[in-house]
């Protein structure tokens, strides 16, 4: 496994070709014969499965630990590890906040013991031992809030009880700061790259006006505080349909350079337009295409993405637009590497 190209991009150095970056935890489990639950419950197995798969597929970067439902377990809710044929990641069983009384009694958890964080910390120590990027995966501020209470409740509060929505977002934001500070204290701030995923703030759910009022100020402030700790790079997964939010996202500091990843809903040309001068761009091959398309379709989509963004000022990494599906065909995943070999060299 080699993270060299990723480190080089972050340091502003020349790379020989477009790096291949992936988030594909469930796929790695299948690839080596583990269960997907193993990947979230057992950091050693999770690291092994990813490291082996990354080596097999020539993936740049390093293994990661995290999931989109982050926040519920950490604040006292219950999550279920994935099981059966159709589950991809841990999912909510109960939310910690279901009423206004729950919100009133909500307190910040101890980040050394809360929910998945001990597992994530164990995983990051493996990253450190192996010379990888040390990442900590959390939701973006709005998504963490939307995992502490049902997202439909957060949506209703935005319109009917905005003060309560802001109260929840304040707690979610302070929690993100607490976690990143814990990682920075443990590994050194300049070695940590927080990975923050923001699917709930997509325009599939909220309007750009709601984003401006309830998302932008919290993420902006949080990122400023993270960067003030000495963290150099923040990776933000700007998940789903976010086109109307892009001018607002562009106001948020991500580091020098930051890293921003997009789904197929946002064109790479647009991503480069808004973020190319300050961030490495990652994306945006449709995960559904990698799962259901033919190898030729995947290859062509990767070729288009590479040609569209390889000359982004701060660099480009080819990636699926969200987690690569566990059931994707191995040959389709190989097509991503082949497209880089054929079109990704500088």
């Amino acid at each position: 496994m080699s993270s060299t190209r990723v480190f080089d991009l972050l340091q502003g150095k020349h790379v020989d070709r477009v790096p291949l970056y992936h988030f594909l935890i469930g796929f790695c489990a299948r690839n080596v014969g583990y269960t997907i639950a193993d990947m979230y419950a057992d950091p050693i197995k999770s690291y092994q499965a990813q490291a082996w798969t990354f080596e097999q597929y020539g993936i740049d970067g390093g293994p990661d630990y995290g999931y989109a439902s982050y926040g519920g377990w950490e604040f006292g809710g219950e999550v279920k590890m994935p099981e059966g044929e159709w589950q991809q990641a841990p999912s909510h069983v109960t939310f910690p906040v279901n009423t206004l009384d729950d919100l009133d009694s909500l307190t910040l958890p101890d980040v050394t013991t809360a929910g998945s964080l001990p597992l994530a910390m164990e995983f990051s120590k493996l990253q450190q031992q192996n010379g990888d990027l040390i990442t900590v995966i959390l939701g973006g501020n709005f998504s963490v809030a939307g995992n502490i209470c049902p997202p439909s409740m957060l949506c209703r509060w935005m319109l009917k009880r905005p003060d309560d929505a802001h109260k929840l977002l304040r707690i979610a934001s302070d929690h993100i700061i607490d976690v990143v500070r814990y990682w920075a204290d443990t590994f050194g701030a300049d070695n940590v790259v927080p990975n923050l995923w923001e699917p709930v703030a997509a325009n599939d759910i909220i309007s750009p006006r709601q984003f401006e009022q309830f998302v932008l100020p919290y993420i902006k402030e949080t990122n400023e505080r993270i960067l003030a700790m000495g963290v150099k790079h923040i990776l933000y997964h700007i998940c789903g349909e976010q086109n109307a939010n892009l001018p607002l996202w562009a106001q948020i500091p991500m580091g020098d350079p930051g890293l921003v990843t997009f789904g197929h809903q946002v064109t790479l040309t647009k991503a480069v337009e808004y973020f190319g001068d300050s961030c490495v761009i990652l994306g945006n091959v449709s995960p559904a295409l990698v799962q259901t398309g033919t190898p030729q379709q995947v290859y062509q989509a990767c070729r288009s993405a590479i040609l569209e963004a390889k000359d982004a000022p701060r660099g480009f990494m080819l990636m699926s637009g969200c987690e690569l599906p566990p059931m994707a065909s191995p040959y389709n995943v190989y097509m991503m590497k082949k497209a880089i070999e054929d079109f990704g060299y500088y």
Partner: protein, 217 residues
């Protein structure tokens, strides 16, 4: 018995209160409709349902998003709870039925819930299986209820793989049943590959898609 003018006023009020997600107003107007002798079916279809049609248009134009839709739905259901017991069943045609559910392994139900609102507002009988629904249940419930349409939702690329199996089970039970699919990773091409009869990109399109499918049957 309310005058024609008063009836029109109540119907317009119900429409506006749904659009403005004023739950207290829909409740008050629903009570007024009952107290003043406005036919409950008329109040639902020409007040509340018409309001949700307007809401659907606002959603399609991206003036409304999910938060607004949720509150409009709250206003709608608060009034429906009052009006439905007063429906004169024998005076109406048998409503069309649809089964809705999010597939096994997937708990993301906001989209499905919005689809449910649209079908409720359009006068369909909705059998809501909620989320993380065992794949066999769709066909079992269709057989039990005789629903003309089965609507299946998935948000995850993993859980979407359950769809073709569900569709086959439903079609094996009754080839005349129409299957509508939707969800973030789905598109019309995938829907066709899976054997679905229709695809809806969002809640606003779902009712029209189902109506077209049923008309074709």
């Amino acid at each position: 018995m309310a005058t024609t003018e008063r009836t029109a006023e109540i119907l317009q009020g119900l429409h506006d209160a749904v659009v403005d997600f004023e739950e207290d107003d829909t409740v008050a107007l629903a009570h007024a409709a009952i107290d003043e002798g406005v036919d409950a079916y008329n109040a639902i279809m020409n007040g509340l349902a018409r309001g949700m049609e307007t809401v659907g248009d606002l959603y399609a134009r991206q003036e409304y998003f999910v938060p607004e839709l949720l509150l409009c739905a709250d206003a709608l259901y608060a009034a429906l709870d009052i009006l439905r017991p007063h429906l004169q069943i024998e005076a109406q045609a048998e409503p069309r039925k649809i089964i809705l559910g999010v597939v096994e392994g997937d708990i993301h139900d906001i989209g499905k819930n919005l689809v449910k609102v649209m079908f409720d507002a359009a006068g369909w009988e909705v059998i809501d299986l909620v989320a993380d629904v065992k794949i066999e249940r769709f066909a079992e419930e269709q057989k039990r209820t005789g629903a003309q349409v089965v609507g299946i939702s998935a948000l995850m690329t993993t859980s979407m793989l359950a769809m073709p199996k569900i569709i086959k089970m439903v079609k094996d039970g009754d080839p005349n049943v129409r299957v509508l699919v939707g969800g973030a990773p789905i598109n019309s091409d995938i829907a066709a590959t899976y054997g679905a009869d229709g695809y809806a990109d969002n809640a606003g399109e779902a009712v029209a898609a189902a109506q077209i499918m049923v008309a074709r049957a």
